[in-house]
């Protein structure tokens, strides 16, 4: 039984009266590639945001590598408005900021690419190393940390070579073609030395060939960096090819989970999302 890396437990996210994520339970184990799929507005990115600390869940908990990193229960006005289950089961409040979650070993990419516009490809990836710097602002300013900085720079060079962006290292990040920008965002996340990589629609806007390259790329980085990968995606080819397990979300609720074969034949999923092939 491989060890559990991420466990989302009874997470409900309610904005005012709107329930965006309803009692979500899921698990990701070491070395797996797990996908979260569902129609637009199903709550997938919201789930990501709760896991990474951007939002505090209304109720529930998140465990990472066996440690509880997020917990909350309905408070104040929300007590009356809470519509979900498992109320009263969670007593603590643990609300890390996203940077803390990243330092624990989780890194993510964004649905809409968020690269740093004024920085080059190299600098974008180098900045992600900042959270792993041991030096304080004084030693960094007076270059007392030059050994650590040289090591980090070498690491970034290696990373860029692995992802195939070495030739454009000195270009402004936003001058790259779209597909390369997505790869850069992944490289940047890798530079933060994560154990778990969260990819939010990595293939968005890509053509079939680029999607194939990305599929191979994700498989490769999992092997090379020993990663566990959790991804949100709409491109079904990518999802079915690469995932070991799939969770399906619809209107914030989990409606199915299983292997790609099981999901493809699940009637509920077909009705809600996948649809039937025309020549059936």
């Amino acid at each position: 039984m491989s060890e559990n890396v991420l466990k989302v437990e009874n997470v409900t996210m309610q904005f005012g009266g709107v329930v965006a994520v309803d009692n979500l339970n899921l698990e990701v184990n070491k070395g797996e590639i797990v996908a979260l799929i569902g129609p637009n507005g199903a709550g997938k990115t919201t789930a990501f945001n709760v896991i990474t600390g951007v939002y505090q869940p209304t109720n529930g908990a998140v465990w990472f590598q066996g440690e509880k990193i997020v917990e909350n229960h309905p408070q104040g006005k929300m007590k009356a408005m809470y519509k979900g289950e498992h109320a009263g089961e969670y007593s603590q409040v643990i609300a890390p900021t996203p940077d803390k979650v990243t330092r624990l070993g989780m890194a993510r990419t964004f649905q809409n690419i968020r690269l740093w516009k004024s920085q080059t490809v190299f600098e974008n990836v180098l900045i992600a190393k900042h959270c792993r710097t041991a030096s304080n602002v004084f030693s960094a300013t007076f270059r007392l940390n030059h050994k650590e900085e040289a090591a980090q720079r070498a690491n970034v060079e290696e990373l860029l070579e692995t992802v195939g962006l070495s030739d454009v290292r000195d270009e402004l990040a936003t001058s790259l073609p779209y597909g390369k920008q997505r790869r850069l965002e992944i490289a940047r996340a890798l530079a933060a030395e994560p154990k778990l990589l969260l990819l939010d629609e990595p293939a968005a806007g890509m053509n079939p060939q680029e999607t194939d390259e990305l599929t191979a790329f994700i498989g490769e980085i999992r092997k090379r960096f020993g990663l566990t990968i959790f991804l949100i995606e709409h491109h079904m080819n990518l999802v079915m090819d690469i995932s070991e397990r799939i969770y399906v979300l619809d209107f914030g609720k989990l409606i199915a989970q299983g292997t790609p074969a099981e999901i493809q034949n699940n009637k509920r999923v077909i009705d809600a999302y996948l649809g039937v092939s025309e020549d059936a």
Partner: protein, 392 residues
């Protein structure tokens, strides 16, 4: 890449050293050469030296503001308040004990009865150590207040942060002018008699100046401070600031703690603003809360905009241009001029200079939004030309 950076740093250092040497030389022309052969502009009373001194002090303050606004993306309008804290700290710590009763005459003497240069034994050594320590403490006081203010205020976004910091600047000014604090701050009166830039001129026994250092010292002080700021900007923390400026959501997701880094940028910027405030007091020969109004913050902001938000060399160049224009070149706009034919030139009278200024600033803000240098530095300009030259 590393090697070019090191070469760049060495070139920058040599240029800075050369600049210091030039300043030292031109200031001492009037000391070493016979009076008649020295052109008017290099005489010790010439406007050139006033402009150089004020310009270099403003350079430091502008760069400190650029660090916060341009590199970390935090729109803060509290600079004058921190300069004020620095100026007062410096003055209070360095007024000679003997002069305190005269300066604090309304309050029958000062509550603080020591002065740092005297603690260090007086004389040139005491002067250098005392002034240096006082300036550093000036920066520390400003940084401490910035830390306190930053706790609630740095969470605010954009315009609100600007207005809140502007507010704190005014509150600081009101507090320092408070009568009850008079024995320390001298209330609404000016603090005087502390060591100024001219105190560093070396005098021989006859009382004549044998070596002028009144321009060299501010250049040295500012130069070192600006060099430290540049090193910070090029370090991993400087890059983190730029990441926060460009996209703070992504920065947070990549492990950069926003609150901690914003506070860091705020405190460091305020330290140098305070240091610069102390230097301003040395330039002006007095420190009075009334001088450090919001209008002064606007001046610095406009210098930063003209030079280019995100460009250190731009801020320095723009500071000198601004000070030269306002103190020296454009003075004629304020004087009523009657031409030889008896024709009175219209518009020229008191206050016209500031109107012209304001119009120029609006033109820069509207049409030259990137300012002089945009977000490039001086070495970037040369590097580009060399690349073009090689391509040919």
């Amino acid at each position: 890449m590393q090697r070019t950076n090191q070469k760049g740093a060495r070139t920058a250092f040599l240029c800075a050293a050369a600049l210091l040497l030039i300043v030292l030389l031109i200031e001492n022309l009037s000391v070493f050469l016979p009076a008649a052969s020295v052109p008017k502009i290099f005489q010790s009373t010439s406007m050139l030296f006033t402009v150089l001194k004020k310009g270099v002090v403003y350079s430091l303050v502008a760069v400190s503001m650029n660090l916060l606004n341009g590199f970390a993306g935090l729109f803060s309008l509290g600079q004058a308040g921190f300069m004020l804290l620095g100026a007062y700290t410096y003055a209070i710590l360095t007024i000679p004990v003997a002069s305190r009763d005269t300066v604090y005459y309304i309050y029958n003497g000062s509550a603080i009865n020591f002065s740092l240069p005297e603690i260090f034994g007086g004389g040139p050594v005491g002067l250098v150590l005392g002034v240096l320590l006082a300036l550093i403490l000036a920066g520390c006081v400003a940084a401490l207040v910035a830390w306190l203010i930053g706790l609630p205020v740095l969470r605010l976004k954009g315009d609100y942060l600007a207005i809140a910091t502007l507010g704190f600047g005014e509150i600081i000014r009101a507090v320092l002018q408070w009568d009850k604090l008079g024995p320390v701050t001298n209330g609404a009166n000016a603090l005087k008699s502390f060591p100024t830039f001219s105190s560093f001129n070396v005098q021989n026994d006859a009382g004549q100046v044998s070596l002028r250092l009144s321009c060299f010292v501010p250049f040295l002080l500012s130069g070192v401070c600006i060099a430290i700021i540049v090193m910070l900007i090029n370090s991993t923390y400087g890059r983190a600031f730029k990441a926060i400026r460009d996209d703070e959501v992504a920065a947070e997701a990549m492990g950069i703690n926003l609150a901690r880094h914003k506070r860091m940028a705020f405190c460091i910027s305020s330290f140098f603003a305070g240091f610069g405030g102390g230097m301003f007091a040395m330039y002006a020969n007095q420190a009075q809360a009334r001088t450090f109004t919001t209008a002064m913050t606007y001046e610095i902001l406009l210098i930063v905009v003209i030079g280019g938000i995100g460009s250190v060399s731009g801020s320095c160049i723009a500071s000198f241009l601004y000070v030269a224009a306002s103190e020296w070149w454009l003075r004629f706009l304020d004087t009523e001029t009657v031409l030889k034919s008896g024709f009175k030139v219209p518009l020229l009278r008191n206050g016209f200079r500031m109107v012209v200024f304001s119009v120029v600033i609006m033109i820069v803000v509207l049409f030259f939004r990137k300012g002089l240098m945009g977000d490039k530095e001086l070495p970037d300009l040369f590097r580009r030309r060399r690349k073009e030259g090689a391509a040919k």
